[in-house]
């Protein structure tokens, strides 16, 4: 082997408010109570994971004009949960998805800087963008953002947050009771930002935090999103967890780094990945089939078909054939608050393709939704799953994975107990934490902004 083995990065995605999460299983617990989050975080830390990840949803989804009631619904506030988790963990990174559209830089900067202080340097921000007026109805600002501005606002928002946290250098607080000087300089935290989206100035009020800046994640997949990540993110939360698609994405994004003067190890690619474990591969395959049927009930199958058909299909039998009517191509969409409906750019073609597929395989509506929507990435015995994950990472399909269990809150336990020890045995995953901050775990440099002359003077 000419190439040294890459070290795998692993993270834990708290089961989300979507149909990957199986709530009907007797083992499924609360997705709101703090005890669930504490169990999940402690499992991830016991397994020496890099971080825990929380997704975002700022409005309950609707379909057909009514609140969507078939998936797990509801979630707690991201910052508040992460701050509490800092009390029950010591090393685990704490990553929150926070929208740049329905927030203001000063507030978000102080929340991440506060979280970083309160966790001893473990905060990370998955920057997401939004423009939909549907979500905007929950905010005093409303759905004010034209779609074409969402990345320009996101970019400027992120740059502004960096300016705010960088306005403190780390050497301002003297707190010298003898001289009576608390601050070195009355201008600590001064900033001026003038731009298209934000025109703000004053003084930031949170001193420099242990990591300096939160670790930045980006999740967008468009060309614009990839450029945004290449320009300044520390990691990408991607959706390409298969070997081929993962390698293509990995190569594409890593090759964009050079033009920003960045090295390939300065941006980690971490796809979301689900898994199903059992003692043997065959048992895992059987279990995976059961899980898929739990994830897609007959009612869920009809609702998912509506994403493409964009019309009420409640009269159809989920165990029967696909509708022979065509999708409604109207402007307004039956499902609101979902990103995935945009995946079907040509609903007529998708409908035709699915009808042919279902006819050829003898699939019902439910079978089709189960098979085409299958997001199970790693299915097998612990040995198989550990080997596959390692192969993918060594083959540059990713730098690791953000694992998405389907049971709250115990869905990570088996992975921690059976797969992680095998990766540790192979020397591709840490046996213990070496540093204390999330930057340490991810191998990222500290964004030290103390200019040389200031550093020399202090």
């Amino acid at each position: 082997m000419s190439k040294p083995l890459k070290q795998i990065h692993l993270a834990a995605h708290f089961p989300g408010a979507n149909n990957t999460t199986v709530w009907s299983d007797p083992a499924a617990g609360s997705h709101i109570e703090f005890s669930s989050f504490a169990h999940f975080a402690r499992t991830a830390e016991r397994a020496k994971f890099d971080f825990l990840f929380l997704a975002e949803g700022l409005r309950l989804r609707e379909q057909g004009g009514r609140i969507y009631d078939l998936d797990v619904v509801g979630r707690p506030d991201t910052f508040t949960v992460l701050a509490a988790l800092a009390a029950v963990t010591e090393r685990l990174g704490l990553t929150g998805t926070i929208n740049s559209t329905f927030n203001e830089p000063y507030e978000v900067a102080r929340q991440f800087a506060s979280l970083d202080h309160l966790s001893g340097g473990r905060s990370a921000w998955n920057v997401v963008t939004s423009w939909d007026a549907f979500t905007g109805e929950n905010f005093r600002r409303g759905g004010f953002l034209p779609q074409e501005h969402r990345y320009s606002r996101a970019k400027e928002f992120l740059a502004t947050v960096h300016e705010l946290v960088d306005s403190w250098h780390g050497d301002e607080i003297l707190a010298d009771p003898d001289t009576g000087a608390f601050l070195r300089d009355a201008k600590a935290g001064s900033f001026v930002h003038t731009g298209q989206h934000f025109d703000i100035h004053g003084q930031f009020n949170v001193p420099r935090s242990p990591q300096g800046r939160p670790v930045i994640f980006q999740a967008g997949d468009s060309d614009e999103g990839r450029e945004f990540a290449a320009a300044g993110a520390d990691a990408i939360f991607s959706r390409y967890a298969t070997l081929d698609a993962g390698q293509a994405f990995y190569t594409d994004v890593k090759n964009r780094l050079a033009k920003y003067g960045r090295r390939k190890d300065q941006l980690l690619i971490l796809p979301a990945a689900s898994f199903v474990l059992a003692d043997t591969d065959a048992e895992a395959e059987d279990l995976a089939k059961q899980v898929r049927r739990q994830q897609v009930s007959g009612a869920t199958a009809l609702k998912h078909l509506e994403f493409v058909w964009n019309r009420d299909l409640s009269g159809y039998d989920p165990d029967g054939p696909l509708p022979d009517i065509d999708p409604d191509l109207g402007e307004s969409h039956i499902a609101r608050g979902r990103a995935q409906v945009r995946m079907y750019r040509d609903p007529l073609a998708t409908a035709r393709e699915w009808r042919e597929l279902a006819a050829a395989r003898g699939w019902s509506i439910r079978d089709l939704v189960i098979e085409t929507g299958n997001r199970q990435n790693f299915v097998g015995s612990p040995r198989t799953v550990a080997r596959t994950i390692n192969e993918y990472v060594q083959a540059d399909a990713s730098d690791g994975f953000i694992l998405v269990p389907h049971i709250t809150p115990t869905g990570l336990d088996a992975f921690a107990d059976t797969v992680v020890p095998l990766l540790q045995e192979q020397g591709v995953f840490r046996a213990d934490y070496e540093g204390t901050t999330l930057r340490d775990h991810l191998g990222l440099a500290h964004p030290d902004t103390v200019p040389a002359d200031r550093a020399a003077a202090s």
Binding site: L70, A113, R140, P177, F182, A186, A188, V206
Partner: protein, 405 residues
């Protein structure tokens, strides 16, 4: 004008148990407090500092702590930065401090300050609901407006005129907006009925959407659709509190609060404040709902009065000026403070929020000297009686405004 018998303040007498909270702000309320040997100013931005303070307050069986906050650097002048370097500057987000200490405590209420002027009620509603989950029923908020133009400049979305005084029309408008803000937060807490989550495997439904409610708030300043993304918190309605010095904020307390803080300097002022808040409460049509009025006092507490005076004098000398604030400053012993609190309690105040002049000194003096003194007099609990903050304050878990009766 007079409160109904169900109001906790109604039967306040010397024999009625008092409620006690402490207000945490940096190293304490005296601007030179950070220079005291017990102050730990270099730990201010660590979790351990706050965990220790709140643990001390819980050791004293206090009802709750409040945590100060603001969307700008502290200043000794209300309307503008003061350019000073000799006082504590910088702070962490109070909601996150409260959440960080919640899993480390079991009984004490956690009441961070939240600013209503520049923030989204949707975000703060779910944040406080989540604090209530994290603390299993011990969350509250202290709603605060900001009329500081330099804080508005941190957001760049509105211009706030130069600050005149707390009674100016601009401030009154911000208080009106705060009332709307609290209304939205409260409606969002009720936007899920308690039994909305059904997990009905037979029908495949996780929630009963008939029990999720749009709040459809439309106000002069903003509109919010709802429902919340966070289910109704353990207390149903976490505690809403506000500090009030004069008529317009008394109205806010009367309309929207569970606990109002007032700053009387004598019993006459205390009576007047309580009367005005009760009148506002009645005007708002909620005379039958419990509403605590707490007196705020800044305290220098020592074993003998001379020591307290000396300490205050020493700190004033370091600060270069005598400390005065909105609240009365008490200097003396635990016995003297207990006497004063009981005297004030006869005016209709049902509790007190004490502001330790030096957190590292006066907080332990409250928990280890004042509390035992009040316990000896039979006016303070000897153990926590309830599992929730509302419970310890004698407040019921409210019915949901959207639930069909």
């Amino acid at each position: 004008m007079s409160p109904t018998p169900s109001s906790p303040a109604a039967s306040s007498t010397a024999a009625t148990p008092l409620h006690l909270a402490v207000a945490l702000d940096g190293t304490g309320w005296h601007p030179a407090s950070w220079r005291e040997p017990v102050a730990r100013p270099r730990d201010l931005f660590t979790a351990g500092y706050w965990a220790d303070l709140v643990a001390e307050a819980e050791r004293g069986l206090l009802d709750f702590v409040t945590i100060e906050d603001g969307l700008g650097l502290q200043s000794s002048r209300y309307g503008e930065p003061d350019g000073r370097t000799d006082q504590v500057r910088g702070r962490l987000d109070a909601v996150l401090i409260a959440s960080r200490v919640a899993p480390l405590t079991r009984h004490i209420g956690l009441v961070p300050t939240v600013v209503t002027t520049h923030t989204e009620p949707f975000h703060l509603s779910k944040a406080i609901a989540t604090l209530d989950y994290v603390s299993t029923g011990r969350a509250g908020l202290r709603a605060q407006i900001t009329a500081r133009p330099f804080e508005a400049d941190h957001f760049g979305r509105r211009v706030i005129p130069p600050f005149e005084d707390h009674g100016s029309p601009a401030v009154t408008a911000l208080l009106e907006e705060a009332a709307d803000w609290i209304e939205v937060v409260r409606r969002l807490w009720d936007s899920w009925e308690d039994d909305a989550e059904i997990r009905d495997v037979a029908t495949g439904r996780f929630v009963d959407r008939a029990k999720l409610h749009y709040i459809d708030f439309e106000g002069a300043h903003f509109s919010v659709k709802g429902p919340s993304i966070t289910p109704r918190p353990p207390q149903g309605q976490p505690l809403v509190t506000a500090l009030a010095h004069q008529s317009a904020p008394y109205r806010l307390v009367g309309r929207q609060a569970d606990v109002g803080y007032v700053t009387p300097h004598d019993t006459g002022q205390a009576r007047a404040s309580v009367a005005e808040i009760r009148a506002e409460q009645e005007r708002a049509g909620r005379a039958d709902q419990p509403l605590h009025v707490f007196g705020d006092l800044t305290v220098f507490l020592d074993d003998d009065a001379a020591a307290a005076e000396d300490r205050r004098g020493r700190l004033d000398a370091l600060a270069g000026e005598p400390y005065t604030g909105d609240a009365r400053v008490f200097t003396g012993t635990a016995t003297q403070l207990a006497d004063l609190l009981q005297e004030f309690a006869e005016t209709g105040l049902s509790g007190f929020r004490l502001r330790p002049a030096v957190a590292g000194h006066d907080l332990p003096a409250v928990t280890r000297a004042l509390v035992p003194e009040l316990q000896r007099r039979g006016v303070f609990r000897t153990a926590y009686r309830a599992d929730t903050l509302r419970g310890n304050l004698g407040l019921d878990r409210p019915a949901n405004r959207y639930a069909a009766v």
